[in-house]
């Protein structure tokens, strides 16, 4: 099932749902015909998209508003914060081409700070589905929830079958392991899954945790990873500031738990624009490269503790 089919199902079940867009139709191309007047395209006007979605929500609608992640969360940031955030209206924002998914578009389109911005808004929730299956499953809970949500759109094909139901704030442990923990979300879950298998092949048991939602975040999963493994590696297509690495540090500090944190993220620069496979390769995020980076972090940790496992 595609995102579009899932959204149609949800809209057909709930007459309050309206699908809005700032002329970003790639993922919802067939909805005008399916939803009629409940499909609203305001044109290339993200501020108006967000404000109008707030107005619709004031009337009892549940808007699912689409735009490219950069323009939605950054150009219209203050509208999201002020009109939707302050009033805690149940508007659902879907940001497309976030992180590495902007591929060859260049820095104008690289949303690498969208998650830090969205999670900073009181009452806003943040969902980063690992693949199309998870996004489709999450969509119903996101739409049914009374709170505002930001969803990082990700229609990549699933690398594995999800075994537990989507519940906001509950992470999915994809592979078990107590040597290292790999905490990730969104489109890189696929590469991390590949990396975890490669690590297993060289005798490193990696616990791969798919965070699913960054807000609410599964604090217990983070604390368990910190306690059970010798190094917690966060992998994200986001700036190192304000994303998952920051969240892990915040959670560990708040709970007085020591964590050996090794963040793999974008340092303070834009990534090389290219098709996705090349971006992953250039930036060191292919499954093979991730496995090497994680193994190096694991070995460095154990050498510093004076006993080498591998």
């Amino acid at each position: 099932m595609t995102y579009e089919e899932r959204l149609t199902e949800i809209a057909e079940r709930n007459a309050d749902v309206v699908v809005m867009t700032a002329e970003n139709r790639a993922a919802i191309r067939n909805l005008p015909g399916r939803l009629g007047s409940r499909f609203i395209d305001v044109g290339i006007a993200e501020q108006t998209l967000v404000g109008a979605a707030a107005g619709m929500a004031l009337r009892g609608r549940v808007p699912v508003a689409h735009a490219l992640a950069t323009f939605l969360t950054m150009r219209a940031f203050e509208f999201i914060r002020t009109d939707v955030g302050v009033a805690r209206l149940p508007v659902k924002f879907v940001g497309a081409l976030a992180g590495f998914l902007s591929e060859a578009n260049g820095p104008t389109h690289q949303a690498l700070e969208d998650l830090s911005l969205m999670r900073g808004i009181p009452g806003m929730n943040v969902c980063c589905p690992a693949d199309e299956d998870e996004m489709n499953e999450a969509l119903a809970s996101v739409v049914d929830d009374d709170a505002p949500w930001y969803v990082r759109y990700n229609a990549r094909q699933a690398a594995f079958r999800h075994r537990i139901a989507f519940v906001p704030g509950i992470a999915e442990v994809v592979t078990e392991g107590n040597d290292v923990a790999l905490l990730t979300y969104g489109c890189l879950t696929r590469e991390c899954y590949d990396a975890a298998r490669r690590l297993a092949d060289i005798g490193i048991a990696a616990r791969l945790v798919n965070m699913r939602t960054l807000k609410p975040v599964d604090e217990a999963a983070i604390l368990r990873a910190a306690r059970d493994t010798s190094v917690v590696v966060t992998v994200e297509d986001h700036f190192a500031i304000g994303g998952l690495a920051t969240i892990v540090a915040e959670v560990a500090a708040a709970n007085d738990v020591a964590v050996r944190l090794h963040p793999i993220a974008l340092p303070g620069r834009w990534f090389t624009p290219a098709p996705l496979a090349d971006v992953l390769e250039c930036e060191g995020f292919s499954g093979e490269q991730l496995a090497r980076r994680v193994a190096a972090a694991f070995r460095a940790r154990n050498e510093s503790r004076g006993h080498v496992h591998v």
Partner: protein, 285 residues
């Protein structure tokens, strides 16, 4: 308009202005911009808006949004006048235990939405108007916009979309008092011709004297100005209207008054001598 109706409107407007002056005591308020749109807000609640304390959450009500949120004392004064809030509650202006402060909060009965950041409510009102259009409702959505607020690009973005959607249930009222925070609009970023700009964006326009109830009646009775188009009423007003010591003065945008000054200004409102204000205007923007 009969002379009785006009007299009632005038006395309501005087009471609203008295409340605005009282709200400028202590911590102060944006008095100039509140006084400029007081007559418009009084007229809307008295004669235009289909909303009352008993129907303030009805889906069929007319909506009034204050996009220039700093004029909220004029709204509070009017909501007290028409029984949405208790008169005594206005004494809580700026009290930490209540929600009556320098910008609107919808915790106060009758306030449709919060504002303060300029250029937001045109889009929010557009969403409300769109939903009413989709649901086949006949209620209308009014938005009071400051003239300085027209500097914000988001106003024009929403104006384009409202025209595209043929939202003739949407009415912008521009409080054309000639000033933005600290300067005259035409000295900074000239706005005229405002009505022609909206007309070029596909809106039906009217221009009236924003202190003339007869002109308001004529203009608001004929809404929408044109079927299939959103309407804009550009209301020429005087910042600080009713108080010569405040009127037309760039430095009297925001004032914080002593209790003696409150008494003197209320006397001035009723035709007394011009007040010499000791309190200095505060630059808050």
């Amino acid at each position: 308009m009969t002379s009785d109706v006009r007299a009632t409107l005038c006395s309501r407007a005087v009471r609203v202005r008295e409340r605005i002056i009282r709200m400028a005591a202590g911590g102060g308020c944006f008095i100039g911009a509140s006084l400029s749109c007081a007559d418009l807000i009084v007229f809307l609640y008295a004669s235009v808006l289909n909303v009352a304390p008993g129907t303030k959450t009805s889906k069929d009500r007319d909506y009034l949004f204050l996009s220039k949120g700093h004029d909220v004392p004029a709204l509070y004064g009017t909501l007290a006048e028409f029984g949405f809030v208790e008169e005594k509650r206005l004494d809580h202006h700026l009290a930490p235990h209540d929600s009556i402060y320098w910008h609107p909060n919808r915790a106060v009965p009758g306030v449709e939405f919060h504002s303060g950041s300029l250029g937001h409510l045109p889009a929010v009102a557009l969403g409300v108007a769109l939903d009413i259009q989709m649901s086949g409702g006949s209620n209308r959505v009014f938005v009071i916009i400051g003239d300085g607020e027209l500097n914000e690009g988001s106003v024009w973005e929403a104006a384009l979309v409202a025209a595209a959607r043929r939202l003739d249930n949407l009415v912008f009222i521009v409080d054309r008092n000639g000033f933005q925070a600290n300067v005259r609009t035409e000295d900074l970023v000239p706005l005229e011709p405002i009505d022609a700009k909206f007309a070029a964006f596909g809106w039906a326009t009217a221009r009236i004297d924003g202190h003339d109830f007869v002109a308001m009646e004529r203009s608001f009775a004929g809404l929408p100005i044109e079927r299939g188009k959103p309407s804009v009423v550009v209301a020429d007003t005087v910042r600080g209207k009713g108080l010569p010591s405040i009127e037309h003065r760039a430095d009297r945008w925001f004032v914080a008054l002593t209790s003696d000054e409150v008494t003197a200004l209320i006397d001035e409102l009723h035709g007394g001598a011009e007040t010499v204000l000791a309190s200095h205007a505060r630059m808050v923007r």
